[in-house]
């Protein structure tokens, strides 16, 4: 995906470069113009269209709209568990519907674990959580090839304290769409 964007940008840059090559410019010269009284010209300004990526998302993108359930991406788990709790059912259903209705959409699910124990076994626990979300989404009609489930294990904690409050935040699966990772 990123490669495609880079290729597109490169093509655009190349095209822009072509347009300003010296061979295609009109011959340079000084033009004499007689000073003629003329009707005063009206001052015209055109507002610049602003794209602000720091504020609210482009309207109409439900994935970014904080009022839309699709903007929520995280599912949390109990200790040593990977079953999806009831409170996350509607979230899973909403994303499954979105994937169903947007066949071109791709999702990466990153599973996470708390810091206790072996890093590699925790990678396995995170994978199990990511796989559980993928399974739920595909059972609800998303296509298998729309979703990749991976694990970050205990390596990317969102909370760094060595206590249960924190560990609960790190036992998590995150759903990311193309361009978000």
């Amino acid at each position: 995906m990123r490669l495609v964007i880079i290729a597109t940008l490169a093509a655009a840059a190349a095209a822009a470069g072509c347009a300003t090559t010296p061979e295609q410019q009109p011959p340079a010269g000084v033009e004499e113009r007689a000073a003629k009284p003329a009707a005063p010209a009206a001052v015209e300004t055109k507002p610049i269209a602003r794209v602000d990526l720091t504020s609210k998302p482009a309207p109409g993108n439900p994935l970014k709209d904080p009022n839309n359930i699709l903007s929520r991406r995280s599912i949390y788990y109990d200790f040593d568990k990977f079953d999806i709790k009831d409170e996350f059912r509607s979230l899973i259903e909403a994303h499954a519907k979105y994937l169903r209705e947007s066949p071109g959409a791709k999702m990466l699910i990153q599973g996470n674990a708390d810091e206790r124990g072996s890093r590699e076994y925790n990678l396995g626990l995170g994978q199990r959580r990511a796989d559980s979300v993928k399974r739920a989404l595909t059972l609800l009609g998303a296509k298998e090839n729309q979703i990749e489930s991976v694990s970050l294990g205990e390596e990317k904690p969102v909370c760094a304290e060595h206590a249960e409050d924190c560990w609960a935040k790190n036992r998590r699966a995150d759903m990311l769409y193309s361009g978000e990772y």
Binding site: R116, G117, S118, R119, E120, Y121, L123, Q127, S151
Partner: protein, 428 residues
């Protein structure tokens, strides 16, 4: 000689109370424990060693002391300073309480290099145990000192020394992850890889030239093999899903890895160039952390197929797994001793993650650490020590413990969290 060995064997597994901070090392090593007799050895300063910068004899002495088996004696300035060519006055060394003695000399060569000669003596039996001459550049002082220490250690204990081997580990400094390679004493730290994303599970190739590891630089775990001399990296496993837990076969031709490409976390085998993928386990459980036995016949691994994570083994060609650990509800990260007789692993013991040793012949389990967040045990190639990661005061540190649990050392880095140690193999 026999008397010396017998006396020394009596010292094996001693505990000592000694702090030996290494000047200039990024990793400093502290030996903790209670006092006990060690073999007294005199390493007399080598005449001419001042030209080499860091004192070669002080490095030899620090190496020997760190093993927990030797006590380096203070040697007063002698005139004339003895060398390996001197006639040894055994009575005098005996009166200084030395059981063993190292004499040597350093000479500059016309080509700008240096020549170090040394000889080891059994003071009690009044006999030479041999010596070697090395030529070296100024940059090779540490490497030369480690070789001398290895010679002394092997002559006096009958086992190969590990002072010339290297260790790998990961340091997290702020948002940077550094895969570091250092001498076994923690000196000479060099970064092989620096990344903004995590690096875990480094594993040395049997020839010591490459490291396999897991890097998250592509937002998911991918297995790389990294050639240490030229820095060349190749992707060995980057399949859909997660790729992790690389382990080398003893001949270096194959790698076992954990992949989630077919769902779950399962163990696969592939060639060291990433070709010929074959699935080895077939379960609905997490199967991970594979490790080959030294004879290449078995793969030990962690699995929660029985409800809790335990260690199993299966034939390296694939086949029915057998459960290996039975005590406790959490046993992970299997690591076989070089002689294949002992299995080190991490066990959850009354709320503490600690290093356990399982004697594979009599099934006895012994817990050899008293810390509570131990991870990633790694045997020295002579099996005498185990390097591990633990957490002390909220910070990740490396620790080393003798395989009988009686000598403990702590290695700490001045800034940053240290984790994921791997002790490299013997190399020529």
């Amino acid at each position: 000689m026999q008397a010396l060995l017998t006396r020394l064997r009596a010292f094996l597994g001693v505990v000592l109370l000694l702090a030996t901070p290494l000047a200039g090392a990024q990793l400093s090593i502290e030996i903790t424990g209670a006092g006990a007799p060690r073999m007294p050895i005199a390493v007399a300063p080598f005449p001419g060693e001042g030209a080499l910068g860091p004192g070669i004899t002080s490095i030899v002495r620090a190496d020997l002391e760190r093993s927990g088996l030797f006590r380096g004696l203070e040697v007063p300035p002698l005139s004339p300073a003895p060398t390996e060519a001197s006639t040894v006055n055994y009575a005098e060394w005996r009166s200084r309480l030395a059981d063993a003695l190292v004499l040597g000399s350093v000479a500059a060569r016309p080509d700008g290099r240096y020549e170090v000669r040394f000889r080891l003596y059994d003071v009690v039996k009044q006999a030479s145990l041999g010596g070697i001459a090395y030529t070296l550049s100024k940059e090779q002082v540490r490497a030369t000192a480690h070789r001398i220490a290895d010679f002394v250690y092997e002559k006096l204990t009958g086992e190969k020394g590990v002072f010339s081997t290297r260790i790998a580990y990961v340091v997290k400094r702020g948002n940077r992850f550094e895969l570091q390679i250092a001498d076994a004493d923690g000196a000479g730290e060099e970064a092989a890889l620096v990344s903004f994303e995590p690096i875990i599970s480094p594993a040395w190739s049997p020839d010591g030239r490459k490291l396999a590891y897991v890097s998250f630089e592509n937002k998911k775990p991918v297995v790389y093999v990294h050639s240490l001399l030229d820095g060349k990296r190749s992707v060995i496993a980057n399949f859909r899903g997660s790729n992790s837990a690389p382990a080398w076969s003893p001949d270096g031709s194959r790698l076992a890895v954990t992949l989630s490409r077919e769902g779950g976390s399962q163990i696969f085998l592939l060639n060291a160039d990433g070709s010929s993928l074959r699935r080895l386990t077939s379960s609905a459980a997490i199967d991970t952390e594979p490790r080959f036995s030294g004879d290449g016949q078995w793969i030990y691994f962690t699995s929660d197929r029985g409800g809790s994570p335990q260690i199993y083994r299966m034939p390296a060609a694939g086949g029915e797994p057998q459960r290996v650990t039975f005590e406790g509800s959490y046993n992970v990260t299997p690591r076989l001793s070089p002689d294949g007789k002992t299995l080190a692993y991490i066990t959850l013991n009354e709320g503490k993650f600690q290093v356990a040793l399982l004697d594979l012949s009599n099934r006895q389990v012994q817990i050899i650490t008293d810390s509570d967040r131990d991870e990633s045990p790694s045997f020295a190639p002579n099996g005498r020590m185990i390097l591990l990661a633990t957490v002390i005061g909220g910070r990740g540190v490396l620790s080393a413990v003798s395989s009988d649990g009686r000598v403990k050392q702590r290695l700490s880095v001045t800034a940053g969290d240290v984790r994921e140690p791997a002790w490299g193999p013997f190399t020529e």
